[in-house]
């Protein structure tokens, strides 16, 4: 009797222990597919990977087989697996008709529930129920069955990832933050992005074109795709938005939409000329502020114009109205034949910015373009830009997209209207920084920021080399501050001329800015710091390059996360 009660007590204790243990033994990792070991494989007509899939299907059923196929990237869906059937050729020269000459094979595949997708030489690409592969193997005409061979894209990772320590930061376990960070690459075009999905880019990206023709490629522009690759390299878990636009009103629409989508960061590797006074005001800078007000941080390339920027005070000793350049009145510059260029001129007379417009200029200057006629050894007038400045207009003139297939020597003349006051003239020559071009005077690297890198809210990024032994070096083209209101810019510097799937080597400050955008995404993903805090952290953590402290080339220094 006593034994009976003891048994019940032991039973009771066991129940307690059972519950306690069952609570502690949650989520024991189920080792998948371990039964694949030690399989006896001896069919010379079957590929081993396909054999393993069949074994999983046989022993664990369809669901496990689908899991396995997904893991191994095998095309397997609803019981059908895509395979290549190699047949014994009945035609010695292996022409395309060799298999077709074997209607028996095709017929048998159909009888097994297979679907013939393609026939090439001795190979038939089919979708076949996995359970029927064995029967197909038994056919004498079948020489071998295998999974399709697939091409593998080369993964290209920017050297800026390791250079900035982002790789180490990425490996940190998240602290009090596991949110998905959304980064928008705002650009002119994303040609070829589809081909990079799942390799150089995330498997899925969100695209939206605010252009009137809704062309996300921007007419075949790859620039945005290359930028997106870098963001993905830096912050592989970030969700990417690829957005393009043309006009500023489209840009505002885009920002509104991005805010609705809860995008955190805009990476903007473009710049404007003559779109503001260079002091953080103007319509573009206003949109950066607008994005900030919507909770989006704006990362901007500083620009590639340090070698193509010039400025000086207007001088006219002979009082004929034309600006003196040395001994003459023409500012020479050269561009490689056939390459287009743009020239932008503005002067320091924007007036005050009221949030919508500048009060404007009443000091009228005009710009004239000449080409040098080698045969006759003389300058020939080509074009002029004569906006009126009567008190409310912006102080700007420009030439867009000129080029010559034969000539390299060009000239500019700047004319001041008689009643205009002496002003400081600024010129930007926009031509691809990778081609050779030169200016007779200058360049003046200081103040060469493009807009909106001058914005208070934008993080402006300069370009530096990532190669070892180049500390304190910079790419000479990287645009520099100060802003016209004497603030130091850029804010930080990041790697450029990095490996890239789109361009092979991607340079310019365009490549640097996405590194910083990606770094911010990493911080947001891994920590609970706010965007403002992250900006401060990036600035303080930057490795000081060049002149001690923040300077107009490197900003606070090299982007450094570790």
């Amino acid at each position: 009797m006593r034994q009976y009660f003891r048994f019940r007590i032991i039973f009771f204790v066991l129940i307690i222990m059972f519950f306690a243990l069952s609570l502690s033994a949650q989520n024991v990792d189920d080792k998948k597919f371990t039964f694949l070991e030690n399989q006896n494989f001896n069919n010379p007509k079957l590929e081993y990977d396909l054999f393993k899939l069949i074994q999983v299907f046989k022993s664990s059923g369809l669901q496990k087989a689908e899991e396995y196929a997904k893991m191994r990237q095998i095309d397997f869906d609803i019981n059908m697996v895509r395979v290549i059937v190699k047949t014994n050729s009945c035609v010695p020269d292996k022409t395309i008709f060799s298999v077709r000459a074997m209607p028996g094979v095709q017929q048998f595949i159909r009888e097994l529930g297979g679907h013939i997708e393609l026939i090439y030489n001795n190979s038939i690409q089919i979708l076949l129920p996995i359970s029927n592969i064995k029967q197909l193997l038994e056919l004498n005409e079948v020489k071998y069955i295998r999974l399709p061979i697939k091409p593998h894209l080369y993964d290209t990772v920017s050297e800026g990832v390791e250079f900035s320590g982002a790789d180490k930061f990425y490996n940190l376990s998240a602290f009090r933050s596991n949110r998905t960070v959304k980064v928008c690459i705002l650009d002119s075009g994303f040609e070829g992005y589809e081909n990079l999905l799942g390799s150089e880019l995330p498997a899925k990206v969100t695209t939206k074109s605010f252009k009137q023709n809704s062309d996300i490629t921007g007419g075949g522009v790859k620039h945005g795709t290359a930028c997106a690759e870098i963001v993905h390299d830096m912050a592989p878990d970030a969700e990417l938005y690829l957005v393009n636009y043309d006009s500023l009103s489209e840009l505002q629409e885009a920002i509104d939409w991005l805010a609705e989508e809860n995008v955190d960061i805009i990476s903007f590797s473009m710049g404007y000329y003559n779109a503001g006074a260079g002091n953080g005001t103007g319509p573009v800078c206003e949109l950066v502020e607008y994005a900030k007000s919507k909770g989006i941080i704006w990362v901007n390339s500083a620009g590639n114009d340090a070698n193509t920027h010039w400025e000086d005070t207007f001088k006219d000793n002979n009082k004929n109205g034309f600006m003196d350049f040395g001994t003459d009145e023409i500012f020479e510059f050269s561009i490689q034949k056939g390459y287009p260029f743009w020239v932008f001129m503005n002067w320091n007379d924007w007036g005050t910015w009221d949030g919508e417009n500048y009060s404007g200029s009443s000091n009228d200057y005009d710009l004239y373009l000449y080409i040098f006629d080698e045969a006759n050894n003389k300058w020939v007038f080509v074009d002029d830009s004569k906006n009126l400045q009567t008190g409310s207009q912006w102080p700007e003139e420009s030439f867009d997209g000129w080029y010559s297939p034969t000539c390299t020597k060009w000239g500019l003349k700047i004319k001041k209207k008689s009643n205009a006051k002496i002003k400081n003239i600024e010129l930007f020559f926009d031509f691809n920084y990778t081609i050779s071009g030169s200016m007779e005077y200058g360049p003046f690297a200081n103040g060469s920021l493009t807009i909106p890198a001058d914005s208070y809210q934008a993080i402006a990024v300069g370009a530096i080399p990532w190669e070892e032994g180049y500390k304190d070096y910079y790419y000479t083209y990287t645009s520099r501050g100060p802003t016209t209101d004497d603030r130091i810019k850029p804010d930080i510097a990041a790697a450029s001329h990095v490996s890239n799937g789109t361009y092979a080597s991607f340079g310019g400050t365009s490549a640097s800015a996405p590194h910083v955008a990606g770094a911010i995404a990493l911080y947001l993903n891994k920590t609970p710091f706010t965007l403002d805090q992250i900006r401060t952290i990036l600035e303080k953590r930057a490795e000081d390059w060049g002149t001690p402290g923040k300077d107009n080339i490197f900003g606070f220094g090299k982007l450094k996360l570790d």
Partner: protein, 218 residues
């Protein structure tokens, strides 16, 4: 769901104990359990979260007879566990030390028996200390610290004493402790002195504590 299990288990066990006690009393020798006793205990605590290791616990208990089968028990335990993974809304990886101080009202099913089953319930005041151990963050120049408020909790439990001599009894005890606490988690970037503190309110800290002990009856 787990609470329901525990509740059902206690209910079921109570019936078993009552039934066992009747049978035992009819055959066993007589020991008075209506005496003040003091105990030492040693056991394991389980949090129910898969990223909290099982922790060893030990402690002492004092039992004062109130009336008849009812007594008051003071119980103090010390429990250390390793948090093996950092979850967004839970403790970060590190070592959690806690001291639950428990005041329970206990009902004993027997008075004069060698086998003394009981059930109990009561309130807890739990002292917590959490040391974050995330060296990878420290190596990157960040300092992480976490402060836990001391918490009020409640517990239910059951167990039994088996007298092995007139004044010494073996004790087996199981308790379910439930509490909610507030957590302040701070990350400091030592290079910029920028820090952010995240407060997590009402963090559930439930425990199942199973102990084996020795009691001295006076």
């Amino acid at each position: 769901m787990r609470r329901l299990f525990v509740f059902m288990l206690i209910l079921f066990s109570s019936f078993m104990l009552v039934s066992a006690q009747d049978k035992w009393d009819s055959v066993g020798p007589s020991f008075s359990s209506l005496r003040t006793n003091v105990g030492l205990k040693f056991g394991m605590a389980f949090s129910g979260k898969d990223y909290y290791d099982k922790g060893v616990c030990y402690g002492v208990s004092f039992n004062f007879i109130l009336i008849s089968n009812l007594s008051i028990e003071l119980n103090g335990l010390r429990f250390t566990t390793e948090v093996t993974k950092s979850e967004e809304n839970d403790l970060s990886k590190g070592t959690l030390k806690s001291i639950p101080l428990q005041l329970s009202i206990k009902y004993q099913f027997t008075k004069e028996s060698k086998f003394v089953p009981y059930i109990l319930t009561g309130a807890d005041y739990i002292l917590y200390n959490h040391t974050v151990d995330m060296p990878e963050w420290e190596n990157m120049g960040f300092k992480i610290s976490e402060e836990l408020d001391n918490g009020i909790g409640f517990h239910v439990g059951l167990g039994f004493d088996i007298f092995i001599s007139e004044n010494i009894a073996l004790n087996i005890d199981g308790r379910y402790v439930t509490s909610k606490i507030n957590l302040n988690s701070t990350i400091l970037d030592t290079k910029s002195d920028v820090s952010v503190t995240k407060e997590i309110k009402d963090l559930k800290m439930d425990l199942i504590i199973a102990t084996l002990g020795l009691k001295i009856y006076f």
